[in-house]
Symmetry: C2
């Protein structure tokens, strides 16, 4: 079989798996946005049926045969062809090496785990949740063993979300970040300006939802989100799903927190622009799929933080904001608005954290995850360890486990290794940002004119259309000329927040 | 294997097929209600992938083995078990007896056919469409042959939509209906009242969409539609999809035709009440699936016509209608409103037809379909035949094929045998209605108090929860004590419309 023949048979098989995956995503979107409450049981059965069909398609013997025949001629493959085959192999192994019984057990445990977590969190009862977490850890170890990564089970977790990522690499980046970031956060939060920022935010009240909706639609469209290839709706927790020509973002509105819906929408717009920017003809192969969660998060963070918290951005949008909310906005000066947009306040809760301290919440989770997997830390000792690391990094100690180890859902369904993506995304965003400013020093002037097209075009070319050809770390190295480092993030936080808080 | 063991293995397999079918329906709902235009290609790929997965689940060898083992002990099966096995066999045969190549060819032809029809209709060019229709007929004949119904191919078409229905049975019902209905329609449309009804309808203008939405939600909820187990949205053409705890209706709004959205919503509510009323624990087997399209249409028609065009209904809702539209409603007396609700006007276009003449549009299509399948009528002679039968039945002759043979989409994708369901549904609705009035003579008084619960309860018990235990014709016989007849429909139309038009 020639390479072309094999690939022309393999590609539609891969695209079919991808299409079924998107159907699963749509079921999830619909569940959170549209589904009437009475439909929950039926939806669970639909999810299960689609997951089973997806697995059958992903593990079809013919996929394995075609991959083997292509791998036998690896030396003759082009770079793009090797990319497709390498990732298809990984997906195929994941689909075929995990026994069906194990997959079922893990799914059942994920569902049990979620409910056990929700109950434990409501009752602030870590002890009832500890056995679930131990079981989740055990399943993760077994999963790593099935995939031939038994010696490095935590790396197997990281690799699921960010192909090629290792704990050693993350450890190196995070310890350097921690060293520089902890004192910066301390200095900022001790500044009298922090108190003023909080006071201004507390005054942002009574912004009509219709106006918020209209304004965020204008903003996200101006950034480049194509509403002919996507939508925005309301859900309890904001998220972005879908890809290509059908990207769906969600947000939520609160009349007394108008910047929340706006910035969560801009964040999801960053994810959405990545998905809309993938090479449409390659959707479903590794040439048309995002590079991993760290890369994804870099896009959402870049637009949310570097772009939308900048002075240039607000030079353009402030007049529009005032026109949309003439009565409510009158109480705020331009400087006050800018300060509200860049407020810093340490909190125990990750999802409430500002851009600066957020990273420390992630370092905390990574350190604990790593120790759980190495056996250095036992599940029963987790709450105490959480309190200690929280005090050390965030500067606050939770008074109960609801504000501590029980706050996040991720571990409850076994999603270990996901947290680092968030912070790596921030690092990548900052490093891309300084590269962009080298190429285009007056970029903020373009923002001030409402023009975001150069930036989007550059990201399209250098990130979005690259698909999965490079891992996130390789991509950063290629695009910026240097390996990923925490220093651009530290520099960016010092420059932007230093100028506001440490003058 | 015991019967219980076989059934306990078979049931989840059948429910999985059903769940995948519902996923396909959701993809369709989403496509018409939510999908951004850029997502069309991806959606087509998703439809194809889900259809393939559904077919694989429906034709799984294990289903066949379990059915064979249950059929071998048919004498020991309970009535309900026989019902499940009988319909599962039919579905399994349909999934396995049609060769994959044929299914693919038919799907491709359906898509080609739709586009050819849309083009031909726009250009009023039947000649370009004739070869497609001939091909569709040929495919239908082949399908019937694969299913062992080659001697009665049109019956095989009818049976797809209404299990057990035959052309002979339909022919008998329709010829009797035609005999009585044609003169009735002539008399009504010659009445001076018909002109007045048209004039009133022409004055119903400028009803705000928000008010229409609010009013129809109140009405449909009062009839019994459970919005915790369903929703209503907007689409180009109204429809109802989903089942059980997740039933989704759509409507469309026009400020200058306020009764359209209302009555289309009530029609879809009738479908929705049926789906919400199926036995939830049996969803996915024949005990928890509707009895066929005629039965389904009987429910939508009963609520739309017998109930919502009655004086009792409007005694309750007219004050609410006036409160919702105080300015617009002031121009109409109660009698004028009632007349507008029951306007009769012959039209060439089926979907625009009133309740009385609608049936004649269906008889027309049935007569032509039957002759196409028997070979008595060639496709090339169809336009002329359409004109002749339209003149005879509807009393109007189309001046072009767009208003004639090209008006409906159904035949373009091979959906022969569907049309009769519409008219049979009207007959069943009327026959159920008179049975209901025997049991509950003062039913309209309950409507006048806004109480529709007895009627819904009766339908739940006698129709909805029966699932597929009986064919539509059997069900009518059981519930009303007499075989299905056109006479109740004729009586109902004479009584209601005679009172208005022929006094």
């Amino acid at each position: 079989m020639t390479i072309d023949v094999a690939l022309s048979e393999l590609t539609p098989l891969l695209k079919r798996v991808h299409a079924l995956g998107l159907v699963g995503e749509l079921l999830g979107w619909d569940e959170q946005v549209m589904l009437p409450p009475g439909g929950a049981d039926q939806r669970a059965a639909q999810h299960a049926a689609v997951a089973e069909a997806t697995h059958a398609a992903a593990s079809a013997a013919r996929v394995g045969e075609l991959l083997a025949s292509l791998e036998a001629r690896a030396a003759e493959l082009t770079f793009d062809q090797r990319t497709i085959v390498r990732h298809a192999r990984k997906d195929y192994d994941r689909a075929t090496k995990l026994p069906a019984d194990f997959v079922r057990e893990k799914a059942a445990q994920g569902s049990r785990g979620y409910h056990a977590w929700a109950k434990a969190k409501a009752a602030d009862d870590f002890a009832s949740y500890a056995p679930v977490l131990e079981k989740n850890l055990e399943l993760a170890q077994r999963e790593a063993a099935y995939l031939g990564r038994g010696a490095a089970p935590y790396d197997a977790m990281l690799d699921k979300f960010d192909p090629g990522l290792t704990a050693v690499a993350v450890e190196k980046l995070f310890s350097e970040l921690k060293r520089d970031l902890v004192p910066l956060v301390r200095a900022i939060t001790a500044s009298p300006v922090a108190e003023r920022a909080r006071a201004i935010n507390a005054k942002l009240r009574g912004f009509p939802i219709d106006g918020q909706r209209e304004f965020l639609r204008e903003v996200t469209a101006a950034l480049g989100f194509d509403y002919a290839c996507g939508r925005i709706d309301v859900s309890l927790h904001p998220f972005c799903s879908g890809t290509g020509g059908d990207v769906r973002m969600t947000t939520r509105f609160n009349a007394d927190a108008p910047l929340d819906a706006l910035f969560s929408s801009i964040h999801e717009t960053g994810h959405g622009l990545y998905e809309q920017g993938l090479a449409k003809e390659h959707l479903g192969t590794a040439l048309g799929v995002h590079a991993g969660m760290a890369g994804h998060e870099s896009q959402s963070r870049l637009w949310e933080n570097q772009v939308a918290r900048s002075r240039g951005f607000w030079r353009h949008f402030e007049p529009r904001w005032r026109a949309t909310f003439p009565a409510q906005s009158a109480a705020f000066s331009s400087d006050e608005l800018y300060l509200a947009v860049n407020a810093v306040e340490p909190t125990l809760i990750r999802v409430d954290a500002d851009e600066v301290t957020y990273n420390l919440h992630i370092v905390l989770r990574f350190e604990l995850e790593k120790k759980l997997f190495s056996g250095e830390l036992a599940v029963r000792d987790l709450p105490a360890a959480w309190r200690a690391v929280s005090r050390e990094l965030v500067g606050l100690e939770p008074s109960n486990d609801r504000e501590g180890v029980l706050q996040d859902v991720h571990w409850s369904d076994g999603a270990f290794g996901y947290f680092p993506s968030y912070c790596l995304g921030n690092m990548i965003a900052a490093q891309l940002w300084y590269r962009v400013l080298e190429l285009r020093p007056a970029l903020e002037e373009e923002f001030a004119r409402g023009d975001f097209s150069w930036l989007l075009g550059w990201l399209r070319e250098n990130i979005h259309t690259q698909g999965r050809r490079y891992s996130a770390l390789e991509l950063v190295q290629r695009v910026t000329g240097t390996p990923l480092s925490p220093q651009p993030l530290v520099r960016y936080l010092r420059e932007r927040y230093g100028a506001i808080y440490l003058r």
